[in-house]
């Protein structure tokens, strides 16, 4: 292939800039030109875009002798990217290359930000290269005559595939690909992925059941990473629980001052707002050189920060995962990670955001937000050394996304059941879909489901001949507006009275404010004036005190890799064999734990029974990570509740879990062991999930994605309130009247089985069953239990009769 005119043209073009292709790029071009599909494994900033883009260009040059003059060739290459922000940068790089190579191809972008004018233009003439988000692929599929637009398409590249895999957006990609492959069996598919633990599986998911020769191309890149911990001077005075880390701010400042440009990552948006404010307070001289960047800040402001980062005019940017993806910022030489990143991959990715000069080392500092987090830091370092990178588990059986997709097809040109059934079955996500389930889904969309004979008046799709169509213009419009799988709580835009957007805030937060209250957003203190047209109007606040909003966001659980490492580290720490500085510093904490309670040995499970004002607590420490603990805690609570009418409040973190009750918990060394028995495990797990609200919570997102809950037309939210119904209501209704509902089943599965590896749970339960269980009765809260006790995310489980519970309760007093 090297001797083809296309390849030669590329080599010459690069040579003119004193550049040569990287080995992995040549490998990728070779496989691509052979007609293979595959995966390129390369980190950002090392030429991954060109490893595939130029392959398509070479092919074009080889096939078209008139390549310098042929225009308007229709869509050739579809480039899928998860972030709209990335699209622009990629597009620019491609256009530059095309221009210098004298190829009159057009590069277009299609995302939520694309203007109406551009969309119309694309309708008339598709560019040769279209950079698109997964949602926009479905929007194109929702338009009449979509097949024509994709007529000449021969290659699809899915960029940042590791980022999309493992989420429902990945399922959207799979389904979109299945339809495009249905239109053109000869389609070539390539993915670009960062290193994850299951690259082969990632490729399988991307390929579905297409039979093509595939290849995985790995870029040979090794980055040196230097990890250091910022340690508290007096560990005894450092908080035992919490997530802010502000007490160590004064130690982060010298690191920031000595660096050129620093990125300070926090785990939540509120944390980033607080850190930004506190740093400005401590170092007012940084004003103008420090910026804030997170997902709820207005896009224009974020772009400003990104540009400033490129030009090196900022000393510090406080950010969240909002800066995880994207082009490299050359001036960044230091990264500070506040609080545990909960995963090796994320930690490495963030470390990789620094040190982009050749031969530079990526420097990352870890700042613990509570004392025990230092053990996590040590576990993280070990996991990194052992290269234990997490896998991204593909989502399976996402019925809600499938329902949305079928509606999308129904809204455009309609679909033929058998044809689409074959395509859908060919995806990884739905390969195990049964004909019964498919029938249920079609029924649900046409008559509302078979369980209810009286599903009169329900019409989403109509069968016309062999095809299913949506005939209601109103329903079609509503559907197109809500294509996507990102479900967020109602957010309102925040704008200055005098003009200028700042960002978005959750409706729930604003609903609790009155005019005159101050809150901070984007690092500014704002005074709430009023809400008009679904926009929050504010002015600059003169108040010194302001509330930092909180945004509802999931808690990041520790990855199972890190969980294993954590357990090992805790045991080393407790046995006194650990050498790391981070752990040695913790000695006084461990001494206190030993004094008040006990330090478990490798073959022991520690349980603490403590009585406080809140009630009777049982703390259990398996050190298996939050996800396993959530399941184990619920199971234990349920099993106890079967013996005895009792109500539990359940909390957990990555080290252990808590059961709290208003009555003494009937567990001691005579019966503790049997609660960890593997007998009847599966059925007990199912029953315990049913006893909590976990499935109900998962149902909300599922109901929105599947189109059951209408979130309102933008700007017209009030008019459609009559169709808004809380997901909880629907959950109740389905639970009571339609228990075979496939979406209910998905909710239960998502709540439990898909969130943890059942094999891992069995393994831990079995280990504990054969362990020695040590139960202590501390007179005070211990360092181990403290972080769990203060956790506010709680689950409830009860086996008591409602009336018995009410008799012990009182009315809640509002302040």
């Amino acid at each position: 292939m090297k001797n083809t005119p296309g390849w030669q043209a590329i080599e010459q073009w690069l040579a003119a800039k004193d550049l040569k292709p990287f080995t992995f790029q040549e490998e990728a071009w070779e496989y691509y030109l052979q007609g293979r599909s595959g995966l390129v494994n390369a980190p950002t900033g090392f030429g991954k875009t060109f490893s595939l883009f130029l392959g398509a260009v070479i092919r074009w040059i080889n096939e078209e002798p008139e390549y310098r003059s042929k225009k308007h060739n229709g869509l050739q290459l579809l480039w899928v990217t998860p972030l709209r922000a990335l699209a622009k940068d990629i597009g620019r790089a491609m256009e530059e290359a095309l221009h210098e190579l004298h190829i009159p191809w057009k590069v277009g972008i299609r995302s939520g930000d694309t203007t109406l004018a551009v969309r119309e233009q694309q309708k008339k003439q598709m560019p040769e290269v279209l950079i698109i988000t997964p949602e926009s692929i479905h929007i194109l599929l929702s338009q009449k005559g979509y097949a024509e637009r994709f007529a000449g398409l021969h290659t699809i590249v899915v960029d940042e595939w590791h980022e999309l895999l493992g989420s429902k957006r990945g399922v959207m990609v799979e389904l979109g690909l299945s339809r495009l492959r249905g239109l053109n069996k000869g389609l070539q598919t390539w993915g670009i992925s960062a290193t994850i633990g299951n690259l082969e599986e990632a490729l399988d998911v991307l390929m579905g059941n297409t039979s093509r020769q595939t290849a995985i191309v790995r870029a040979d890149v090794h980055k040196a990473i230097d990890v250091q911990c910022i340690l508290p001077d007096e560990i005894e005075k450092y908080p035992w629980a919490g997530h802010l880390g502000i007490k160590l701010l004064h130690k982060a400042l010298p690191v920031i001052m000595e660096s050129n440009t620093t990125l300070l990552f926090t785990n939540t948006r509120s944390q980033s707002e607080i850190w930004y404010q506190q740093i400005l307070k401590a170092c007012p001289e940084l004003a103008g050189a420090i910026a804030l960047h997170h997902g709820s800040i207005d896009a224009e402001l974020r772009i400003w920060v990104e540009e400033a980062l490129h030009t090196g005019t900022l000393k510090l940017v406080v950010c969240t995962s909002s800066l995880d993806l994207g082009v490299d910022f050359r001036p960044v030489d230091t990264v500070i990670q506040v609080g545990s990143p909960k995963g090796v991959a994320r930690f490495l990715q963030r470390a990789g955001r620094s040190g982009h000069r050749p031969d530079a080392v990526s420097k990352i500092w870890f700042l613990p937000t509570h004392s025990l987090e230092l053990v996590e830091a040590a576990a993280l370092k070990d996991a990194m050394k052992a290269n234990m990178i997490e896998s991204r588990m593909p989502v399976i059986m996402a019925y809600d996304v499938l329902l949305q997709y079928l509606m999308t097809l129904g809204v455009s040109d309609g679909f033929e059941s058998n044809e689409i059934w074959q395509e859908v079955k060919g995806t990884f996500c739905f390969r195990d879909l049964t004909t019964d389930e498919w029938q249920w889904i079609i029924s649900f969309l046409t008559t509302g489901g078979e369980a209810l004979q009286s599903y009169d008046e329900f019409h989403k799709l109509h069968k016309v001949g062999d095809t299913y169509h949506c005939v209601s213009k109103q329903q079609a419009m509503r559907h197109r507006l809500h294509i996507g799988t990102i479900v967020s709580d109602a957010m309102l835009k925040v704008r200055f009275l005098t003009g200028g957007y700042i960002g978005v805030i959750e409706e729930y937060f604003i609903s609790r404010l009155t005019a005159g209250d101050s809150f901070s957003l984007g690092g500014q203190n704002l005074e709430f004036v009023m809400i008009k047209d679904m926009t929050v109007l504010v002015r600059k606040s003169k108040s010194k005190k302001s509330i930092v909003p909180s945004w509802g966001g999931g808690r990041m659980p520790l990855s199972s890799n890190l969980g294993k490492m954590l357990r090992r580290k805790f045991h080393e720490a407790m046995a006194g064999t650990a050498q790391e500085e981070e752990i040695l510093v913790l000695q006084p904490i461990f001494d206190l734990q030993q004094l008040l309670s006990h330090i478990p040995k490798e073959d022991e499970l520690l349980m603490e029974q403590i009585e406080t004002q809140d009630g009777y607590h049982l703390f259990v420490y398996p050190f298996e990570g939050r996800l396993v603990h959530e399941v184990m805690a619920t199971l234990l609570a349920w099993r106890i509740s079967q013996q005895h009418p009792i109500t539990f409040s359940i909390a957990m973190n990555d080290y252990g879990f808590e059961l709290l009750s208003d009555q003494p918990i009937p567990l001691d060394d005579t019966n503790a062991q049997e609660y960890f028995s593997l007998e009847n495990l599966t059925i007990d797990l199912q029953r315990s999930v049913n006893a909590t609200e976990m499935a109900r919570r998962k149902f909300r997102d599922i109901a929105v994605i599947a189109g059951l809950i209408f979130q309102g037309f933008p700007g017209k939210a009030k008019a459609n309130r009559h169709l808004q119904s809380s997901a909880s209501l629907l959950f109740n209704v389905f639970n009571d009247y339609d228990s075979q509902n496939i979406l209910l089943r998905q909710a239960f599965n998502e709540a439990f089985f898909y969130q943890m590896e059942e094999a891992r749970l069995r393994e831990s339960m079995d280990r504990i069953y054969h362990n020695k269980i040590v139960i202590t009765f501390p007179q005070r809260l211990t360092p181990f239990c403290f972080p769990i006790k203060v956790d506010s995310l709680r689950e409830q489980l009860t086996s008591e009769k409602l009336e018995d519970r009410i008799k012990k309760m009182t009315l809640f007093t509002y302040e």
Binding site: H459, Q475, F648, H722, Q796, L802, L811
Partner: protein
């Protein structure tokens, strides 16, 4: 197990508060309910949201049981009887209504009651904006109360009241309730297909929570 009720003497009258979400007023021989929302699930189905139909059947069956238990002379519906425009559930109600031709149905109009007046006539339902009986004003939304109360006590629905309860061991529950405040009372929503709005009880108010088939007065 049948629906429990509890006796409540209030403002000189005798009331039976039922866990079936209704009040039987002994002096007036009236069964009082609010927020039936007949047709809500059909309304959703028409918009393409698949909600099962059994809700209306269950709700009307419960109303039937209450009528059979108390033998009222009239049924007062304090608003939102029907959820929106005519649909099959309204037809179902028409047939159901025939069982109680001898009982007067008085509907105090709510924001959702938008059917044609002729239809109400056909269903033998008498319409009112506000209903005054003894010294009680029945109005759907308490915000629409008459400007001069003159010693009348308000009885309304609309908000689908719930109350929050807490207990040791960080327990918390939200339950539907009957709420008797200083100025007026709020009835729980009759229909199962409604949400709950948490009330902040005033001092000296009477609160009765509904727990499945039982009803409890909760003292502050």
């Amino acid at each position: 197990m049948s629906l429990e009720d509890t006796a409540f003497e209030f403002k000189g009258q005798h009331w039976r508060l039922s866990a079936g979400r209704a009040i039987y007023w002994e002096e007036e021989k009236a069964l009082i309910v609010a927020d039936l929302h007949v047709g809500k699930s059909a309304h959703f189905r028409k918009a393409g949201i698949a909600v099962p139909a059994n809700i209306v059947q269950e709700d009307l069956y419960r109303l039937q049981q209450l009528i059979t238990k108390y033998h009222p002379e009239k049924v007062l519906i304090v608003g939102d009887m029907f959820h929106s425009s005519a649909n099959n559930e309204v037809q179902y109600f028409k047939i159901w209504r025939r069982q109680f031709a001898h009982i007067a149905f008085e509907l105090i109009e709510g924001n959702h009651d938008i059917l044609e007046p002729a239809l109400y006539e056909d269903l033998q339902i008498n319409l009112h904006q506000v209903l005054s009986l003894r010294n009680f004003y029945f109005v759907h939304d308490r915000e629409d109360k008459p400007s001069v109360l003159e010693g009348h006590y308000l009885i309304s629905g609309h908000i689908h009241p719930g109350i929050r309860m807490v207990g040791a061991g960080r327990q918390s529950l939200r339950l539907p309730c009957f709420y008797f405040g200083i100025e007026g009372a709020v009835l729980p929503a009759f229909s199962g297909f409604t949400g709950l709005y948490s009330l902040h009880p005033e001092a000296d108010s009477a609160v009765f929570v509904i727990a499945e088939k039982k009803i409890f007065r909760i003292f502050q």
